[in-house]
């Protein structure tokens, strides 16, 4: 099994909607990969493409996790001191509540993991062409 298949097996453990977004994204990146590799000035090989799509998936999972957490957290921060919760239909999201702590912990651990593997910049902020360059050990633009 390649890294991409391994990744798909890993994300089988997350909720369906998130999983579909991540896997759908990887599929779309594969479609665009000839252009992305051309932009990076790197020849495509099956092994490099597999590694690239794996990191594209990790990057998408990180983006979804981080952005959704930030949006929820930001919506609570924007309330200032006037309120401490967002009421959406029947559910209530509390500032400092258990759900937000859990999500914050996930984002923190995800960021730590990326940093431990030297992936923070390329996964969190780089372009897809940068990911290709990174895999080739070439300087990221």
């Amino acid at each position: 099994m390649g890294l991409r298949e391994d990744f798909e097996a890993i994300v089988a453990g997350i909720p369906y909607s998130l999983r579909e977004e991540v896997i759908g994204y990887v599929d779309s990146v594969e479609e665009s990969s000839p252009e992305i590799f051309r932009e990076a000035g790197v020849d495509r090989s099956p092994e490099l493409l597999d590694q690239f799509l794996f990191l594209a998936g990790v990057r998408r999972l990180h983006t979804l996790t981080t952005s959704y957490y930030w949006l929820l957290d930001r919506s609570l921060q924007l309330l200032g001191s006037d309120a401490s919760a967002i009421s959406v239909g029947r559910s209530r999201l509390e500032r400092g509540g258990g759900e937000m702590k859990m999500l914050r912990d996930l984002v923190r651990k995800f960021n730590e993991m990326l940093a431990n593997h030297g992936l923070s910049d390329v996964v969190a902020q780089g372009s897809l062409a940068d990911v290709v360059l990174f895999l080739q050990g070439r300087p990221v633009r």
Partner: protein
């Protein structure tokens, strides 16, 4: 680079935080609904407006989730800078731009002149078209050509001036926006590039969650919306460090 080690670390992360991912999945729709609202508020905050949550209920900001219900039964944001004051509402009903009918459209997020949203709770309530400044439509879809056509149709019915190459309002405001967690598919990218040549003043923001991450990294980064305002400073940057220590 040992990618097998990264794979194992990702597997551990997913296994150890299953409950958090479940929560994220459950809150995803809410994050999107709130997300468009937050992006609009952040746009104004980052060009120097003060922001304030209004009409709070039981210590909470009550989000209007659908077209149903009177705006005054829900919470909204007020943004102000000097004498300028606007309100940002979720699912805001607004009159169409034409006088030929009395059509009412509901935009996902609407920016209106302060005080222009009727406070009544009777009959069909809608903001007069002239009092709507701009709006955001949010989708959890890949941006395909027909979605773009639908969005341009909405702009045409509600704020056609933006398709005529001239903004209806001042520079602090953003052009009508389509934001999506999906990416541009097929010929969509080319269509969006064509909007500029056609003088369409609209924002199409694919994978807006990636733009959100950029904003999270940089409290002073502009919003993803055009036009990029060049004046003003964020009014309350201290908000950035209030809640937690997550190193974005």
């Amino acid at each position: 680079m040992n990618l097998e080690a990264v794979r194992d670390a990702v597997a551990d992360l997913v296994a150890q935080h299953k409950a958090a991912f479940t929560t994220l999945g459950r809150r995803e729709t809410q994050a999107l609904e709130i997300g468009a609202l937050v992006l609009a508020v952040e746009h104004y905050r980052r060009v120097g407006f003060e922001t304030r949550a209004v009409n709070l209920q039981q210590d909470a900001f009550k989000v209007k989730l659908s077209a149903k219900g009177y705006p005054s039964n829900f919470s909204w944001y007020e943004v102000s800078r000097g004498t300028q004051r606007y309100e940002i509402h979720a699912n805001l009903p607004v009159r169409g731009a034409t006088n030929h009918d009395k059509g009412v459209y509901v935009v996902d997020v609407g920016v209106a002149v302060a005080g222009a949203v009727p406070a009544v709770k009777k009959g069909r309530v809608a903001v007069a078209n002239d009092n709507l400044v701009s709006f955001v439509e949010a989708k959890k879809l890949v941006i395909y050509p027909m979605l773009l056509a639908q969005f341009v149709g909405i702009v045409h019915e509600i704020k056609p001036k933006y398709l005529g190459g001239r903004a209806a309002v001042g520079r602090a405001h953003f052009y009508p926006a389509l934001v999506s967690v999906g990416y541009l598919r097929g010929t969509s990218e080319d269509i969006v590039k064509g909007y500029k040549r056609r003088g369409y003043l609209v924002n199409v923001v694919p994978t807006f969650d990636e733009r959100v991450v950029s904003m999270a990294h940089d409290p002073l980064a502009p919003s993803p919306f055009r036009p990029r305002a060049r004046h003003g400073r964020p009014a309350r940057p201290k908000l950035e460090v209030v809640s937690d220590d997550v190193p974005f």
